[in-house]
């Protein structure tokens, strides 16, 4: 019996090749899509979860109340960690760690070899809190004192050729304006790629505190610098603890304005956004979004499968009738049809695995991950289960429904498709196309928004700007170096700054006092200390007053605001007014027109500039003439080598930093393109199959119509029109849904494109066009058949 059924299955495939191909292609691409997304989702939710203490590992954040509502920052006082560890019994360990981006390219020198890589400064219990296994050194000891450095295995290999016997060797490093030699005290295993915190070496926090003082800062409760992590004792009631520490900093020092909140360390990756001081969403939205898409695509594929299996089964009604007349039991037939659909599902599964295998490299490029297909028993079981489920779902209709009828009814051809069945089938087509249209709209919208963001006037010029670190000998002769750069004809302008202008890492500060605001110091400002010529180099536009100038020696006590800052402060006729900041007094000399230094998700924040003292000149910015990048960079490198021999000239372009802010959107844009393509492909396969089936089923009707004088083109119109109607209904359903979703997504951007009608109409037209193309061939084929053939068969 089994052999007999397999034989029948194979011969049916051979006879109805197209149907089978459509089934397998549709189902396997749906499954492949699900597998890829599942791999991605599984990877996303595992990020940062590898720490042994994950359950009790928390990050402490500063929360400031301001006019715009609560704002949450990861920078905390450098003495917060040790104080918490001292005074709170619930805290097992507490450590400070600098933001990895802050020291992302630090030159490390061993003899004549210089390697630039990223590192952090961290408190002495760091290795007790985080599970970064040590190959060399003792985890309680390695960060003691001020003279140690702990390096990664791969850095040890690069610097010394081996991770063995490196303890005690000396590395010279250059950061925070300090050049120091530290002894290697330990080696840790390379940090896995599913960790958000990435670095190659750790220096003691004590050294960092020294650096702060070296740069004229203070290690007190008002200056916020490193991140604070705490490890809570087991059994601590987290909610009570969070309530208890809310005003912890304020109790330590009366000048503190920030409350403390805590979040689980491993939750920060997926829930990175804060709303009113509460952790809300973030990447988790994408996890949900893509899971939904995967589910949708699989649903579409399953619907197709079911639809076509049913259509196919009706072709085989005779077989069912004969078998029943010859005494086949209903269960036998049910088993046969389930068996067939499950077998098809398994064939699709194999094909899907092949597709996943082929597409993984490309998928990794798009998602920026290092995913791979692994076949542990769990994955394997899951795959089989998915295929089995799909097969049973798809086979359920023909197996259960068609096997029910009396053989005479079937053999006499009296079995008519019920209206319910017809409507279910049409409903499924409408559902598929609605989804496809929504996805097409998403593609249009996301790509438009990304394009808008990239072309919108920033209020400054991000293009053709190179920046690089001031390090080594450049520190002493920075001015001379700058002067030499400016002499190159292809260098438009050059200046120094304390920080990169793009991005979120710019210092945030409060504590500005102006007339009318003596009491309340709530407003937070972005602050940048810059060199002469920076405003000009960045091509920022003045609204009022003037920029910093060497002609005015008093400019060291001058301050420049952006428009928003003046609005927030509410100062009338600001030029010449004075502002108190810290212990000093500054005169407002200029107002800059607003420019975007953060992503377009954020509104422009209040910002001010002061001239730098020499110590905090940490970066050079150079604007080069458009089109001369290559030769100018060579010249820059030469000049760099002349002034700073022994160091490698490493530069970045400002506009690539700018692009990086939209990495997530770019990713969504390119992924949604693939998904929309896939959805429409699968939907069209379904439509194609259905059109084919309809044309076949209505052969007699078409023949009669033709005999009665209807022309082939009229028949074509009639058949295509029927499917066009379905797509039109789908458009009607998809547009309002898409409109709501689009509004929701765009509301995440402070600066966004208006929703235009053509995104929706365009998507609808695309769907309609593709649908007609799909159905048209079948319709024309059916319309041009000889009517006699159609009539003879009855």
């Amino acid at each position: 019996m089994f052999k007999h059924n397999v034989k029948l299955f194979l011969r049916t495939i051979k006879r109805y090749k197209t149907t089978f191909m459509i089934n397998v292609i549709g189902l396997s691409s749906g499954l492949a899509c699900v597998f890829l997304i599942a791999l991605w989702v599984l990877d996303e939710v595992q990020v940062d979860k590898f720490h042994e203490n994950d359950e009790h590992l928390y990050q402490v954040w500063n929360k400031f109340e301001s006019q715009e509502g609560s704002r949450v920052f990861n920078w905390t006082p450098s003495i917060l960690a040790e104080t918490m560890a001292d005074k709170l019994p619930e805290v097992k360990y507490a450590v400070s760690q600098t933001v990895p981006a802050q020291f992302a390219k630090i030159p490390l020198r061993v003899h004549d070899q210089i390697i630039k890589t990223g590192g952090v400064f961290a408190g002495k219990d760091y290795f007790n809190v985080f599970s970064y296994p040590l190959i060399e050194g003792d985890k309680d000891q390695v960060l003691e004192g001020t003279n140690s450095i702990v390096i990664s295995e791969s850095l040890a290999n690069r610097l010394f050729g081996s991770p063995k016997e490196v303890v005690g060797k000396v590395i010279e490093w250059d950061a925070m304006g300090m050049l120091e030699k530290h002894q290697v005290s330990g080696v840790f295993k390379d940090i896995p790629s599913n960790s958000t915190t990435q670095f190659d070496f750790i220096l003691p926090l004590a050294t960092y505190k020294k650096g702060i003082i070296h740069n004229g800062g203070k290690n007190d409760w008002v200056n916020n610098n490193p991140i604070t992590y705490i490890l809570l004792n087991e059994g601590t009631n987290v909610e009570e603890f969070a309530a208890k520490i809310e005003n912890f900093s304020k109790l330590q020092d009366e000048d503190v304005e920030a409350d403390l909140i805590i979040t689980k360390y491993s939750s920060n990756y997926l829930y990175s956004n804060f709303e009113n001081g509460k952790q809300t969403s973030g990447r988790m939205n994408y996890v949900y979004l893509f899971s939904c898409i995967a589910l949708f695509i699989l649903t579409i594929a399953c619907i197709n499968f079911m639809n076509l299996s049913t259509a196919n089964a009706s072709r085989r009604l005779k077989e069912i009738g004969v078998k029943k007349a010859l005494g086949s039991k209903r269960t036998t037939l049910i088993t046969q049809y389930f068996g067939e659909s499950v077998m098809t599902a398994f064939i699709s599964l194999l094909l899907a695995l092949l597709v996943v295998f082929l597409f993984i490299p490309q998928f990794n490029v798009i998602t920026g991950k290092a995913l791979s297909l692994s076949f542990d028993s769990l994955t394997f079981g899951l795959l089989l289960l998915i295929a089995l489920f799909t097969g049973i779902l798809a086979g359920s209709y023909p197996a259960l429904h068609l096997s029910r009828f009396k053989p005479v009814t079937i053999l006499r051809g009296q079995l008519k498709n019920s209206w319910g069945e017809v409507w279910v089938r049409k409903g499924l087509v409408i559902f598929q196309f609605s989804l496809s249209i929504i996805l097409i709209i998403a593609v249009l919208l996301v790509s438009q928004q990304v394009a808008y963001v990239q072309s919108k006037n920033l209020g400054m010029d991000k293009d053709n700007v190179v920046y690089f670190k001031q390090e080594g000998h450049l520190r002493e002769n920075a001015e001379a170096f700058l002067k030499e750069l400016k002499e190159f004809p292809s260098v438009v302008n050059a200046a120094m700054t304390s920080q990169n202008i793009i991005g979120t890492n710019i210092n945030t500060t409060g504590g500005l006092v102006w007339t009318g605001n003596e009491e309340e110091r709530q407003s937070r400002f972005k602050e940048l200390r810059i060199g002469h010529g920076f405003i000009e180099t960045m091509d920022m536009k003045l609204k009022e007053g003037r920029s910093f100038s060497r002609q005015f020696p008093t400019d060291s006590a001058a301050i420049v605001f952006n428009e928003t800052a003046i609005k927030v402060m509410g100062i009338k006729n600001p030029i010449g007014k004075t502002i108190h900041y810290g212990s000093r007094q500054y005169t407002i000399i200029g107002i800059l027109k607003d420019f975007h230094f953060q992503s377009f998700r954020e509104t422009v924040r209040p910002m001010f500039f002061r001239l730098n003292n020499n110590r905090s000149n940490l970066e050079f910015v150079v604007r080069i003439a458009a089109g001369t990048e290559k030769e100018t960079l060579v010249k820059l490198a030469d000049a760099y080598a002349k002034f700073n021999s022994g160091y490698v000239f490493e530069y970045s372009f400002l506009d690539s930093d700018f692009q990086a802010q939209y990495a997530a959107e770019q990713r969504v844009a390119s992924l949604s393109k693939y998904f929309a393509g896939l959805a429409i492909l699968i939907s069209c396969l379904g439509l194609f199959g259905l059109a084919m089936y309809t044309a076949e089923r209505r052969r007699k009707e078409i023949s009669i119509r033709k005999v009665l004088g209807q022309s082939a083109s009229q028949v074509t119109m009639m058949l295509s029109g029927e499917f066009a109607k379905l797509v039109l209904i789908a458009i009607g359903i998809a547009i309002p849904v898409a409109y709501l979703l689009a509004n929701n997504w765009l509301s995440g951007f402070a600066y966004r494109i208006p929703l235009k009608g053509w995104y929706f109409m365009g998507a609808g037209c695309i769907a309609l066009f593709v649908a007609l193309l799909t159905v048209g061939s079948q319709a024309i084929g059916a319309a041009n058949k000889n009517p006699v053939d159609g009539l003879k068969e009855e």
């Binding site: 049916t12 078998k323 010859l326 005494g327 039991k329 036998t332 053989p407 005479v408």
Partner: protein
């Protein structure tokens, strides 16, 4: 007596009225009979045949087959009954297109408990008997109508039924092919198989031993 129908009626409701397909049919069949059911189109011939074959229900009356009262049997038992004792021959042959001649013949045996070797020898016998050994690996579409019906008859016979029900077995065949099939029926009848055929043709009727004429669902 092989089977006995008493006061069998079958109707459908149409516009609040009963339309009789079969009305008060009384008739019996002995083992070894060769019966022809005649009548114009729509007189209920095929319906009667399907009722006898237990493929179709009736609304009223009693039907006993080998002393089992069919109308009281459950679907499953009824299926077992006809599976064991009845073979069908259809006007449109109803061979399964995806199976070869050999496989089509084998199919009824799959629904009974026969071992593979038994099935093989039964199929072999049947192929021999109908002289179609050379065609055993062909698909129905590769055969002429007469040959297809030959396979149809062979398939009906393979499970050695007591009764063969044939619904216009020669309806789709030319006269020569038709004669061949009728010859085979006569031969089978001589060997003791009961045959009930529905036919339009006087010529085919002549092969039978008894004729039942139907008009508008009643025996006349």
């Amino acid at each position: 007596m092989l089977l006995n129908l008493k006061n069998i009626s079958k109707w459908v409701q149409s516009g609040g009225q009963k339309v009789f397909l079969l009305k008060d049919i009384n008739f019996w069949v002995n083992e070894g009979d060769f019966i022809s059911i005649m009548g114009p189109s729509g007189s209920g011939k095929s319906t009667l045949l399907n009722v006898i074959g237990m493929l179709d229900d009736f609304n009223e009356g009693e039907y006993s087959f080998l002393d089992e009262s069919v109308h009281t049997l459950k679907e499953k038992h009824r299926a077992n009954l006809y599976k064991q004792y009845v073979g069908f021959v259809f006007q449109a042959y109803h061979l399964i297109d995806e199976l070869t001649v050999k496989e089509n013949l084998e199919m009824p045996l799959l629904y009974k408990k026969h071992s593979a070797s038994e099935r093989k020898s039964l199929v072999g016998d049947m192929l021999d008997r109908f002289n179609i050994v050379g065609k055993k690996d062909l698909f129905p579409a590769q055969l002429s109508g007469g040959q297809q019906q030959l396979v149809g008859v062979a398939r009906a016979l393979i499970a050695s039924p007591k009764l063969i029900l044939a619904d216009e077995p020669t309806g789709n065949l030319n006269s020569k092919q038709g004669e061949e099939i009728m010859e085979i029926f006569t031969q089978l009848n001589k060997e003791g198989v009961t045959i009930i055929q529905v036919t339009h043709s006087e010529k085919n009727m002549a092969y039978g031993s008894r004729v039942i004429n139907l008009l508008d669902g009643s025996i006349v």
